[in-house]
């Protein structure tokens, strides 16, 4: 198990969710339901957001059924304020997203061999905050890449 949770628990413990962003939700409220899994992991349909660093900027998206399937994710707007992912009508309908407030968005993060952290802005995860239905969408417009360097923190 990658995230720091107590082994033997059926569901990863997730507390201390940051409330600094109204778009974030309480991960303890339940798992996210990815009806079709995610690309590369079609069998994994239930994921939980697990905190593993204190500041809450980054979380671990972890499969409920296979804890080895986990990745770091983060709110893209913390690093890319101008990011404007445009959902297709199909994704909006599939997720039953009516207004922007329904949608919670976070993006995969991965460290490169160069030690730099990269964010995948091409394939954001979109969650309907009301129903907890989720999918990883593939953006058509915007020229986003799966490997955008995360800017160094401003100190």
């Amino acid at each position: 198990m990658i995230a720091e949770t107590n082994p033997g628990e059926s569901r990863p413990d997730a507390t201390n969710a940051s409330t600094s962003d109204s778009r974030e939700m309480d991960p303890a409220a339940g798992s996210l339901h990815f009806e079709d899994g995610i690309p590369g992991f079609p069998e994994q349909t239930r994921f939980a957001l697990v905190n593993f660093v204190e500041d809450g900027a980054f979380q671990m998206l972890q499969s409920v059924d296979d804890p080895d399937v986990a990745m770091v994710v983060a709110n893209p707007w913390m690093f890319f304020p101008d990011y404007e992912p445009e959902l297709t009508e199909l994704d909006q309908i599939g997720l039953e997203i009516v207004t922007a407030e329904d949608a919670v968005v976070f993006c995969p993060v991965s460290v490169g061999e160069d030690g730099i952290l990269y964010m995948n802005l091409l394939g954001p995860f979109v969650v309907n905050a009301r129903t907890r239905r989720a999918r990883q969408v593939v953006l058509i417009e915007g020229g986003h890449t799966v490997r955008t360097p995360i800017p160094a923190p401003v100190s």
């Binding site: 690309p39 590369g40 660093v53 980054f58 671990m60 770091v72 199909l90 995948n120 593939v138 923190p153």
Partner: protein
């Protein structure tokens, strides 16, 4: 792989409710229209592959990524 020849404006039907139509053929490029159920996701293959491979990479690197974040606080 099933191979079919179609002209501009002609379609093929996949299953009961997916219709793929060749809209336009012009200088090495074709425009395709897809009528499919609303819950069916349709992607450009090469773009979908990028996201799939990025997911595999992010999962393989999850522990290293978490360690990198712990060792260098970002905020």
């Amino acid at each position: 792989m099933l191979v079919l020849s179609r002209k501009e404006g002609e379609s093929i039907v996949i299953g009961d409710n997916i219709v793929v139509t060749v809209l336009e053929v012009r200088s090495g490029q074709i425009r395709i229209g897809i009528d499919a159920p609303r819950d069916l996701q349709v992607h450009r293959h090469e773009v979908y592959r990028q996201v799939l491979e990025a997911n595999q990479d992010a999962v393989a690197n999850a522990r290293a990524s978490a360690d990198a974040l712990r060792s260098q606080p970002r905020r």
